[in-house]
């Protein structure tokens, strides 16, 4: 008897609480914004800070009165680094929560997983990470770099005199779609620059690989054959043992520089960077950039991390995908304001040509047709405090080429977003 009454009491109070909850939600008219980043599993390392920066941006937009007079309401879900779960959670956001827009995904494989859902339900996804290109969906806006906004300028820099004049290339990556496609593009690009196949070595490791002894020994052996550079598309926390091994085996940046495409301030937080000074990374933004917009962005983020008590808040850093998330969300808010609605078709139309003064120090514009952001390219050198020092950058933002001219057959691709490509 006693237990039953307890259950009854509990159900009653739960339903009252639920009622209360729905009531408050309905009271203030809000716009729901979905956030689809892994908060557990292997990718949590990188994606957690994207969720937090998205929440910070929502707070900032709300503090200025929201969009079209309505406040934004975040709906955070955790796809747990599980690729099929991304599709499931994406569908849940679009059909149950009825969000106006989703910010999310890091790995290309998770984006490929949600893509059919967004195209079927006509959702809107903002993808904030540099990737391999070869995609242009009308339901996605890509605020990270395409290969011509990161990989190709980076290799050009390595071949230049200041970059060390490399003539041999060791392409090292994690074994999945992004490194494989990027290296395919790079190989074709290197061929066009007169680099022969015997001077290119391509090596892949599994996700989470932790023992880089053999690979570093092979890099040393390969580098004895002439001026060598390593182009690393190693993803996630494998980078830590890789860089530690480089330092321990005494491979210096002055002899064999490593150019990384997926190593940012966040990844370096776990490493002592003193032996790594001079190794490079190519991005479109670095925390160390000295301009008023970035100073405010970094200060806001540090204050937010402290106020919310985020883990490791005293050493909070910003990085490129965080900036891309921040820029993407502001672009969406501006477009929704301009369209006077959050209807996907209207917002998509308003987004074309929309621009925003970004922390990278440039005013970034969303391309009128190809759904990609125009971005400046920057090459940074690792410093002993875990930050990057920009050693080279483009003078103006570059237009993205999602269909790389270095992959045969891409000439016939349409230059505007089409479903199912």
């Amino acid at each position: 008897m006693k237990r039953r009454s307890l259950i009854k009491a509990f159900t009653l109070s739960a339903s009252i609480a639920a009622l209360g909850l729905t009531w408050t939600v309905q009271a203030a008219e809000t716009i729901k914004v979905g956030i689809l980043h892994s908060l557990s599993g292997t990718m949590a390392i990188s994606e957690t800070s994207l969720k937090d920066v998205a929440l910070m941006t929502i707070d900032q937009i709300n503090a200025k009165g929201g969009v079209n007079g309505k406040l934004l309401e975040p709906v955070v879900v955790d796809p747990a680094s599980n690729w099929p779960l991304f599709a499931e959670k994406g569908r849940q956001l679009l059909t149950q929560d009825k969000v106006a827009v989703v910010f999310g995904c890091w790995t290309s494989v998770s984006r490929k997983s949600v893509l059919p859902v967004f195209e079927e339900l006509n959702g809107l996804l903002f993808y904030p990470v540099q990737y391999e290109g070869e995609e242009m969906s009308p339901n996605v806006f890509y605020t990270g770099a395409a290969p011509n906004q990161q990989a190709i300028p980076a290799v050009e820099y390595l071949m230049s005199e200041d970059g060390g004049g490399a003539r041999r290339f060791f392409l090292l990556g994690t074994d999945y779609v992004y490194p494989r496609t990027t290296n395919k593009i790079l190989r074709a690009f290197l061929h066009s620059k007169g680099v022969a196949d015997k001077d290119i070595e391509e090596v892949y490791t599994p996700f989470g690989h932790a023992d880089y002894q053999t690979i570093v020994a092979n890099i040393k052996k390969f580098s004895a054959g002439g001026k060598t550079a390593v182009v690393s598309t190693v993803n996630g926390d494998s980078n830590v043992p890789f860089y530690k091994e480089l330092a321990n085996q005494g491979l210096k940046a002055t002899e064999v520089p490593v150019m990384a495409f997926s190593v940012g301030e966040e990844e370096l937080r776990g490493i002592d960077t003193k032996p790594l000074v001079g190794h490079l990374a190519a991005w479109n933004y670095f925390e160390s950039l000295d301009n008023p917009v970035n100073q405010k962005f970094v200060a806001d983020w540090k204050a937010y991390a402290k106020a919310k008590g985020l883990p490791g808040a005293d050493k909070a850093v910003t990085n490129d995908p965080m900036e891309a998330t921040y820029v993407g969300m502001h672009l969406w808010a501006q477009a929704a304001q301009k369209a006077g609605s959050t209807d996907v078709d209207k917002v998509r139309e308003a987004l074309a040509g929309q621009s925003f003064e970004a922390p990278s120090g440039f005013t970034l514009t969303m391309d009128k047709t190809n759904h990609h952001l125009h971005k400046p390219v920057m090459i940074g050198e690792i410093q002993d405090d875990g930050q990057f020092d920009v050693v080279w950058q483009t003078e103006a933002p570059l237009r993205a080429q999602p269909w790389s001219p270095f992959i045969p057959g891409n000439e016939q691709r349409p230059q505007h977003a089409v479903k199912g490509q």
Binding site: I45, D175, Y204, A224, D237
Partner: protein
């Protein structure tokens, strides 16, 4: 009057080096990027002891010892700077410093430094430095006009075993590059010599990385060899014990940093007892509260320990955050020792191999030479009989489980020095740990030892041939075949009472 003039001159002479340095610094600061490179090349060709301080400051991006950091260096300038510094150091009085400089120049000397090297080579009195300078010189003399100089250089390079010498000698095999027949033949002989030496270095390197991977596997699996091997608990939370050990190291590092910064160099040693205590404590708590009730029910144990592992992961994630934490290597665990020209053995790996063997030895002693070990073996072989003889089986279970977890904690300290420390650390080692224990033979410590080193070496022998991804697949396939043929593992427990 002459006296005063003398004094003035003397004063000027004394001031000259400083004046020169100041003007060098100004020259460098006002130069463009290309002029800076040219300036550094000039300094490398004509060293001046007065410039040593300036170059040292430049390396840190400063124009003088107490100037702020204003300079932006890139890899090209950094390389030239290292080279100029090596040139200056050839003037040092310390033979060790000269040797290091000469070794640096072996790899990086520029043609403009030829005259400098020749002068120092002729004047050098120290044997080792003389030889090192000779090699550095030989690299530059390969393009000398005189065939006899080239011949001598080629012969000298043949004895070096330097990986860079191979490429240089290979170029000389072409008649288009090298016109002299005699030099070409000598280059061929020298090349064979160099290649033989490089092969030895390569094989030793592979063997070493195999042993190193083996030691990592051993440290990861040793604790499991007790909890799963001896006690028979399918302990899915074993990986999390490694993780707790690694996080204890992190905690100790933070505490030492805050309260005793002087002892920071030795924090991993302090972390060992802490990690052991933390992991063993958590292990014993789990044993008393959860696992004790599940003995003899392997499926439930598996589920329960798996649940525990998820709880521990999320707990750590809540406390320390989802991101990896920084565990720095102290000075004595960074860098490596150059054994052969193409073989550097990292200190951290050497220490970990030694540490793994020590832990294995201690565990063996504990199990075979102490009262606790005797009790553990008695309980695992025949629980009822042991209980009859007065062995407190419950207590022994708890202590043995705690011991296994504590050893996993020690493994965690070692793993924190070579890999990532994050909430998922344990997940990446749990499969390997089970592999090692099952392959070695459940219940056999020696089996785990052999299995760990065997797997490590096999993995590293396969990796260069077929790549890391295929290598891993092949190893797993081979283990499946092996277990099919011999389910009891490499070493089977012999005896009548096996349940």
């Amino acid at each position: 009057m002459p006296k005063a003039l003398h004094r003035l001159l003397l004063c000027l002479c004394l001031w000259l080096p400083f004046a020169a340095q100041a003007s060098d610094a100004q020259d460098f600061a006002s130069a463009s990027a290309n002029d800076r490179a040219r300036l550094l090349q000039e300094w490398a060709a004509q060293p001046d002891p007065a410039r040593l301080g300036l170059l040292g400051s430049l390396q840190q991006g400063r124009l003088g010892p107490d100037q702020p950091r204003t300079l932006r260096l890139n890899n090209r300038l950094r390389g030239l700077l290292d080279n100029a510094l090596a040139s200056q150091r050839l003037l040092s009085d310390d033979a060790q410093v000269r040797l290091q400089a000469a070794q640096h120049l072996q790899r990086r000397a520029q043609p403009t430094q030829l005259g400098l090297l020749e002068r120092h080579h002729a004047a050098e009195t120290d044997q080792a430095v003389h030889a090192a300078l000779g090699l550095a010189l030989a690299n530059l003399q390969l393009v000398a006009a005189e065939p006899s100089v080239r011949l001598a250089a080629v012969r000298l390079l043949g004895e070096s075993g330097d990986p860079l010498a191979r490429t240089r000698l290979q170029a000389l095999l072409e008649p288009a590059v090298e016109s002299d027949e005699g030099v070409r033949t000598a280059a061929r002989t020298s090349l064979d010599q160099v290649e033989r030496k490089l092969l030895i270095g390569e094989l030793l390197g592979q063997a070493f990385s195999g042993l190193s991977l083996g030691s990592v596997l051993l440290l990861a699996a040793l604790g499991l060899a007790i909890t799963f091997g001896l006690l028979g608990v399918i302990n899915m939370a074993h990986g999390e014990m490694l993780m707790l050990g690694a996080y204890s190291t992190y905690g100790v590092q933070i505490l030492v940093q805050r309260y005793a910064p002087g002892a920071l160099e030795f924090y991993p040693l302090l972390a060992l007892p802490v990690a052991f205590a933390v992991s063993a404590g958590v292990g014993m708590l789990l044993e008393r509260t959860v696992i004790r009730h599940l003995y003899g029910r392997p499926l439930e144990t598996l589920l329960a320990t798996w649940g525990i592992s998820l709880i521990l992961i999320q707990a750590v994630r809540l406390i320390f955050g989802a991101q990896n934490v920084e565990v720095a290597n102290p000075g004595w665990l960074s860098g490596g020792v150059q054994v052969l020209p193409n073989l550097v053995l990292p200190w951290s790996r050497i220490v970990i191999i030694g540490f793994a063997l020590c832990v294995a030895l201690l565990t063996w002693l504990l199990l075979n030479r102490t009262r606790l070990g005797l009790n553990v073996r008695a309980v695992t072989q025949n629980r009822n009989m042991a209980a009859c003889c007065g062995v407190p089986t419950g207590r022994v279970d708890m202590l043995a489980f705690g011991l296994g977890c504590g050893i996993a904690g020690l493994g965690g300290v070692a793993l924190s020095q070579i890999g990532n420390v994050g909430p998922d650390l344990g997940q990446s080692y749990i499969i390997d740990s089970f592999l090692v224990v099952v392959l070695g033979g459940v219940g056999q410590l020696a089996g785990s030892l052999w299995a760990a080193f065997g797997l490590g070496v096999a993995n590293k022998l396969l990796e260069p041939q077929i790549g890391a991804v295929l290598g891993k697949i092949l190893i797993l396939a081979l283990i499946i075949l092996f277990i099919q043929k011999r389910p009891q593992g490499l070493f089977a427990l012999k005896g009548r009472v096996i349940d």
